[in-house]
């Protein structure tokens, strides 16, 4: 003993074993089934899209952090995959590259990297391309087309700065019946037709690459929550408040407003709730704040969907929640032990 050097260290000398890379890595793992499902549904185009966006995000992260290799924390990979999953499967690849670059460069690196970004980077990227390429981002293709593993959707390889080719003709050739080219949310909004819960759960509807199967996303989220890599309170708050709001509207006018289950399962709500709203850097840290934050996102999602010009409201609802996070944190400081009054 006496011959050995002993070291001085600050307490505590024991640790939970969780680390940023383990958390992030597990989030990535949990998204792989969703990616797999998406590729199975949409074939080569979806695969190319996911790979392109993720590679772009990783490359951008590496490029903008010359002094330290921050790829090891896996956070850029999450942003990339998540962004890919929220884009339409046949999104032109050059636009996807733009989205990936914007997500990391403007959404994250500009603010100082991991932990310093006020908004979820994937959402920033997605919001940017939504504004820049309004047509491409609402061009949907049918799932399970016969040739999906042998040929790409024509729009995938649009040349940069060119308008994507019209795909209506291509879709006709695929021989898919009754393809409307609209998401369930759009169909509800403009035609007042709601998709069945069964279709929404199993993902046999038109949507972004990774938004289709609500059930699969829920299962992946459950894995994260059980392994304690995700704060379960946020999804519960978001989904709960969204359901409540939708239910209130339905009570008010059952003929016009859809039932809460449709609201929960359709569009990007599920993936947004599980993977974006729970983004640690951009959600509150206080126990009360977490519920308020989730509640705001849930209510706003429904309101934007019902009254906004867009068919989908999750993205903006989450961005709003992100923006409010510092404020929520400030006003929901827990009452410090041994103090009588609530501290602000």
């Amino acid at each position: 003993m006496s011959k050995h050097r002993i070291e001085l260290r600050a307490a505590p000398h024991q640790h939970s074993g969780h680390s940023v890379p383990t958390i992030m890595r597990n989030v990535v793992y949990s998204m792989l089934p969703i990616c797999g499902f998406s590729v199975w549904q949409y074939g080569l185009s979806a695969l190319a899209l996911l790979l392109t966006v993720t590679a772009t995000c990783l490359a951008t992260e590496r490029l903008l952090n010359r002094n330290a290799n921050t790829l090891g924390d896996w956070s850029a990979a999450i942003t990339g995959i998540l962004l890919g999953l929220t884009l339409p499967p046949a999104f032109p690849l050059w636009m996807a590259i733009v989205a990936g670059f914007v997500a990391i460069a403007i959404g994250k690196a500009m603010f100082g990297g991991l932990g310093h970004n006020p908004f979820n980077p994937a959402l920033v990227g997605r919001a940017f391309v939504q504004a820049a390429f309004p047509v491409a981002i609402t061009t949907w293709v049918p799932a399970f087309s016969a040739n999906r593993f042998s040929e790409f959707v024509p729009t995938t390889f649009t040349a940069p700065l060119m308008m994507p080719p019209d795909i209506v003709g291509w879709v006709k050739q695929q021989g898919v019946d009754a393809f409307t080219g609209a998401t369930p949310l759009a169909r509800w909004k403009f035609e007042n037709v709601t998709a069945s819960a069964h279709d929404l759960l199993t993902g046999t509807v038109t949507a972004s690459a990774g938004e289709t199967s609500a059930l699969l996303i829920l299962l992946c989220g459950a894995y994260l929550a059980i392994r304690k890599f995700m704060d379960w309170r946020i999804p519960v708050a978001v989904l709960g408040s969204a359901a409540l709001t939708a239910w209130a509207f339905q009570l008010y006018n059952p003929a016009h407003y859809p039932d809460p289950l449709f609201v929960l399962l359709s569009g990007g709500l599920m993936i947004g709730t599980i993977y974006m709203a729970t983004d640690m850097a951009t959600s509150p840290v206080t126990p009360v704040g977490v519920w308020i934050y989730g509640g705001i996102i849930g209510v706003m999602t429904v309101i934007i969907r019902y009254f906004g010009g867009l068919t989908e409201g999750v993205m903006y609802a989450i961005l709003l929640g992100n923006a409010l996070t510092p404020l929520i944190d400030q006003y929901t400081q827990p009452r410090v032990y041994g103090t009588g009054k609530e501290k602000s």
Binding site: M1, S2, R5, A10, A11, H13, L114
Partner: protein, 445 residues
């Protein structure tokens, strides 16, 4: 997470569930041999150091008074072994400073019998007189805070004490000495409680034990006095259940007001080992000469609970229990709040409840990431502080904001926040630095 309408084991909010490593909990307490030389520190308690009353070359007997207290908030020191005073010299201590020690060269043929006693007639004493006799025993808080026990028991002016809480939670991982003393010396604990109640005037005492030590609960319950003044309560196994504030909240549902002592809400808290030693030594008139220490950790070959003479140098201790060559860190106390020591020359003092030897891979991984706002630390802090914000402020050295807006002063450095932080930010260490800075700046200006 506490759900309403369920009958819960009493506990406090937040906190953590570390891996407990209580493997030594079933091993009986064993005696430790005398080291050839004992280094008896004069600063084994909080308060003024004791004053040595021996000279170099003098022969002392085990149990003999060798240093007297300097005022009411100080404690005497008794010779842990029979031998010759070899020197009075400064030695390294656990806090890194040099502390005055009485060095005793132990007679080889020494027995473990205590040879000098100072008995009193305790029966007809008032509480105050009893407190002064308690001081002569020299017991300091055994949980690690080392506050002189007699001084803690005297109720401050204007306070009435209604409950003594006896802390048998032992929430720190690895440590099991309190566990063993509850199993093996429950009767001593009851004696100690009796004397403590006489000094502070509390009508009742509650012993709080975590639910991972049910054999201790059984032993205590078998020894309870018949009048029902002492009860045993089982509390949830959770760190830091054994901290004063958390245990009081778990047992009584009261909160200690921020910045005040527990006596302000009528409670004094003592550790089980403190009271066990008080109960055993006080009637005999013996001084504190030894204590029970858990020696454990992944780098110790023969871990266990040992009765160690005070002043035993760690070098001797570790050699004796077979510290492996993998040990790179020696911790005094538990892994959550204990301190690593700079040198194995540090001696055992009254406040050392554990000696742990860790190797490199047992310690916290070194890579630090930026705070990712996961909120784990906020959900772990038993004081309901906001370590996230304080950590960000500490990085910017905004210590005043930490103190004024985030009540830095309430942090008792339990380490829960650092334990859970996935970014491995040394939060507690930052808070310690901030407090140190604020305290010493006040001194300067």
């Amino acid at each position: 997470m506490r759900l309403p309408f369920f009958n819960h084991t009493p506990t406090f909010d937040h906190g953590i569930h570390p891996v407990y490593h209580k493997e030594t909990g079933h091993l009986p307490i064993r005696r430790f041999p005398f080291a050839p030389k004992l280094y008896v520190s004069l600063e084994q308690h909080i308060g003024k150091p004791a004053i040595a009353i021996v000279r170099v070359g003098q022969e002392v007997l085990r149990g003999e008074l060798i240093a007297k207290p300097d005022g009411l908030f100080s404690l005497p020191i008794h010779a842990p072994a029979t031998g010759i005073i070899e020197a009075l010299e400064p030695m390294p201590s656990d806090n890194g400073e040099m502390e005055m020690c009485i060095v005793i060269r132990v007679y080889e043929a020494d027995t473990q019998e205590v040879q000098v006693r100072y008995p009193h007639d305790l029966e007809n004493m008032s509480g105050r007189e009893l407190a002064l006799v308690m001081q002569e025993v020299g017991v300091a808080g055994k949980g690690g805070a080392t506050f002189p026990t007699h001084a803690k028991l005297i109720p401050p002016n204007g306070c009435t004490i209604d409950t003594i809480i006896v802390n048998g939670a032992e929430c720190e991982p690895f440590l099991t000495c309190d566990h063993r003393i509850m199993v093996e010396r429950a009767q001593d604990i009851m004696e100690g409680i009796k004397y403590a109640r006489r000094v502070c005037g509390a009508p009742r005492a509650i012993i709080g034990v975590e639910d991972n030590k049910m054999d201790a609960v059984a032993a205590l319950e078998a020894a309870l006095p018949a009048d029902g003044s002492v009860t045993v309560k089982v509390v949830e196994t959770k760190y830091p259940q054994g901290a004063a504030e958390t245990l009081i909240t778990a047992l009584l549902g009261r909160e200690v007001p921020a910045g005040k002592r527990s006596s302000s809400i009528g409670v004094v808290m003592n550790n089980v080992m403190t009271l066990a030693y008080m109960g055993r030594l006080l009637p005999l008139g013996e001084g504190m000469t030894e204590r029970i220490v858990t020696i454990a950790g992944p780098s110790v070959e023969r871990p266990g609970n040992y009765i160690v003479p005070l002043g035993t140098p760690l070098r001797f201790l570790l050699e004796h229990v077979g510290a492996r060559s993998t040990a790179t860190e020696v911790i005094l106390g538990g892994p959550m709040m204990g301190t690593t020591i700079p040198s194995v020359d540090v001696p055992i003092t009254k406040g050392v409840c554990g000696v742990l030897a860790f190797g490199k891979k047992d310690a916290i991984p070194p890579q630090i990431y930026p705070c990712i706002h996961c909120g784990e630390c906020v959900n772990a802090c038993p004081k309901k502080l906001n370590p996230t914000q304080m950590g960000l402020l500490a990085a910017k050295r905004e210590y005043d904001v930490m103190a004024e807006q985030f009540m830095l002063g309430e942090c008792f450095e339990c380490g829960c926040c650092s334990y859970v932080c996935p970014s491995h930010i040394p939060l507690v260490q930052q808070f310690r630095v901030a407090k140190y800075f604020l305290k010493n700046r006040e001194k300067v200006t």
